[in-house]
């Protein structure tokens, strides 16, 4: 037996056992430190929020009364759904289009790399900046009125765009090049290769990435604060002010009234459940896809 083998085959000494135990302990401690706030948030959300939930909580609009019945959060739920839907209609096709350009046409060209760089920068821009941008460009200039739901949706779309682009680009890059070659070699024009082969193959991944972007947009307060503003009633008119869950929470939580604060908790729980549902759907679609990253 060689000297090396003899040395390494000796039983593990007490010192090594001790340092191993310490290292494990430290890592475990950090994990617990990180987990505790997460569990605490969920615990408080359910504990405080579930009490606010009732049928009328979801079916009535806020009344705006400080005393007496404060009403429910119907307008906030509808407003969030409407604005996020409009934002998705803007951001998802545009984002997938940019990703298609980057992967199928731009490739490693200087322009494509510049676009990638700006997309990365945009991913890191704080959400309040998007709100401020839309406020300056569309609200202050009084384009078709002042505060409007569609302006809020534009701010949310800008926020979603880099997330959609980046996730779609990753998935499109996962589509094997051999499939593109096979289709091209059959005599397919490039646009048909993209629409018939590349997009269908990448679709589950694109949907997943887009849903995660939607989930992120649904929880944003800052972009809506000075674009869609706050209002009590429900409406389907996107040219008017529109309520939203994050803004409802923002307004209620500062009130010196227990029932309003409790409504904020209820709204927060509603928002988390909505986002959780979206994330779950995204996970399910991703699991069924053959191209998960």
């Amino acid at each position: 037996m060689s000297a090396v083998a003899q040395r390494s085959l000796r039983p593990v000494g007490p010192r090594r056992r001790r340092s191993d135990a310490i290292a494990r302990g430290v890592v475990l401690a950090f994990t617990i430190v990180a987990i505790v706030p997460l569990v605490a948030i969920l615990y408080w959300l359910v504990k405080e929020g579930l009490g606010a939930w009732s049928k009328s909580f979801f079916t009535t609009d806020p009344t705006g009364r400080f005393l007496g019945d404060p009403g429910g959060i119907r307008s906030a739920i509808l407003g969030t759904i409407e604005m996020v839907a409009l934002a998705s209609i803007i951001a998802v096709p545009a984002g997938v289009g940019v990703a298609l350009y980057l992967v199928e046409y731009g490739k490693l060209s200087r322009f494509a790399n510049t676009v990638r760089y700006f997309v990365d920068v945009m991913t890191g821009v704080p959400s309040v900046v998007f709100g401020l941008f839309v406020y300056i460009v569309l609200v202050v200039t009084k384009v078709a009125g002042t505060f409007a739901a569609w302006k809020g949706a534009v701010a949310l779309a800008l926020l979603m765009l880099p997330v959609v682009i980046r996730s779609a680009e990753v998935v499109l890059n996962l589509v094997p090049n051999s499939l593109r070659e096979a289709a091209l070699a059959l005599g397919a024009p490039r646009w048909k290769v993209i629409f018939r082969i590349v997009l269908p193959t990448a679709l589950p991944g694109i949907v997943t990435g887009s849903l995660l972007a939607v989930a992120r947009a649904a929880g944003e307060t800052a972009p809506l604060l000075f674009t869609a503003a706050f209002v009590l009633g429900s409406s389907a008119d996107l040219s008017q002010r529109m309520n939203s869950l994050p803004l409802q929470i923002f307004n209620d939580v500062g009130q010196a009234q227990d029932r309003l604060v409790q409504r904020a908790w209820g709204a927060a729980l509603t928002l988390v459940v909505l986002v959780l549902l979206l994330t779950l759907i995204a996970r399910l679609i991703q699991r069924r896809s053959k191209l998960s990253p």
Binding site: A182, A188, K290
Partner: protein, 306 residues
């Protein structure tokens, strides 16, 4: 019966190996010789069918082809005739440019960023490498089967075969009839006729490759290019594809790139040997393997290098 048996078992001994970067003629020759299958004897393969009496497909003639990857000069002035309804094998060590040359023929080479090719490629009397020629039309006339089977993962068996018709925008074609005929032509019909709606990627590797061949012949090209079509397959699947190539010869001009010299000897009417981007020799397969005109060819086919 015995020589036939031998010729049929030899390919099983030298399975093409995708993980091996360089072809290993030494091993192939060493294994083949004791069984009475030196490349020399294999050249007269009883599996090979004669070409049809009258040409049913056009030939291709390459004139002074130069191909580049950026500044890298990969193909250096190759001129070569592919005779109608014949199988031409392209052999040579890795990196000699045989795949690149074949990809020039259906203009797939230029799909690689930075790559381009010069020279004339005459299909009948039309230069398909000219700038103003529609590459989409070229690729409809010249089909290609790739190294790894690549059925479309989102499509059923039926849709995979029909894909070319739809992608190429062919109208007025009875799709069902064409799919059936192509699957029969690719020798896959009997195995899949009861499960045409199942996904194409659910088939075995060899079946997938025959599915890809069916997909290629469904658009009825004149020429079929095969870029190492068997290198990802086991020996039995390889043999089926080789038999199929003999049948396809009736209707198509075929160019096959192969790392496997026994395969070239079995399937090809003529064989072209390439080295470092140049064409060394193109001659009837029997001559290449028994009496090559160039010493480099002889050294390669006898396993002195590669």
């Amino acid at each position: 019966m015995m020589p036939d048996e031998d010729a049929r078992t030899t390919p099983l001994d030298a399975p093409p190996d995708t993980t091996t970067e360089m072809p290993q003629p030494d091993e192939g020759a060493a294994e083949a010789t004791p069984k009475g299958g030196s490349p020399r004897e294999l050249a007269a393969s009883p599996d090979r069918k004669p070409p049809p009496a009258e040409a049913t497909a056009p030939g291709i003639s390459l004139r002074d082809i130069n191909a580049y990857y950026g500044d890298n000069h990969a193909i250096k002035g190759v001129s070569l005739e592919y005779a109608p309804n014949q199988v031409t094998a392209m052999i040579g060590p890795s990196g000699c440019g045989k795949s690149t040359l074949v990809r020039c023929i259906n203009r797939m080479h230029e799909e690689i960023p930075g790559a381009h090719a010069e020279g004339s490629i005459m299909l009948d009397d039309l230069d398909i490498n000219a700038k103003d020629v529609d590459v989409v039309a070229v690729r409809r006339a010249i089909g290609m089967v790739f190294q790894k089977p690549n059925p479309f993962p989102t499509m059923s068996i039926f849709d995979n075969v029909a894909a070319g018709l739809k992608l190429a925008g062919m109208r007025g074609v009875d799709v069902r009839e064409r799919v059936e005929r192509s699957l029969i032509g690719a020798g896959l019909w009997e195995e899949v006729k009861d499960r045409l709606s199942e996904p194409g990627v659910g088939l075995s590797g060899g079946q997938q490759q025959r599915l890809c061949i069916a997909r290629t012949i469904a658009v009825e090209p004149d020429v079929i290019l095969m870029d190492e079509p068997c290198s990802a397959l086991d020996p039995i699947a390889t043999l089926r594809i080789e038999d199929l190539i003999q049948d396809l010869k009736e209707r198509y001009t075929i160019v096959i790139v192969t790392h496997n010299m026994q395969q070239a000897a079995r399937v090809a009417d003529t064989t072209a040997f390439m080295l470092l981007g140049e064409l060394v020799e193109h001659a009837p397969t029997e001559k290449i393997f028994s009496n090559p005109g160039d010493t480099r060819t002889e050294e390669y086919v006898t396993g002195k290098f590669g």
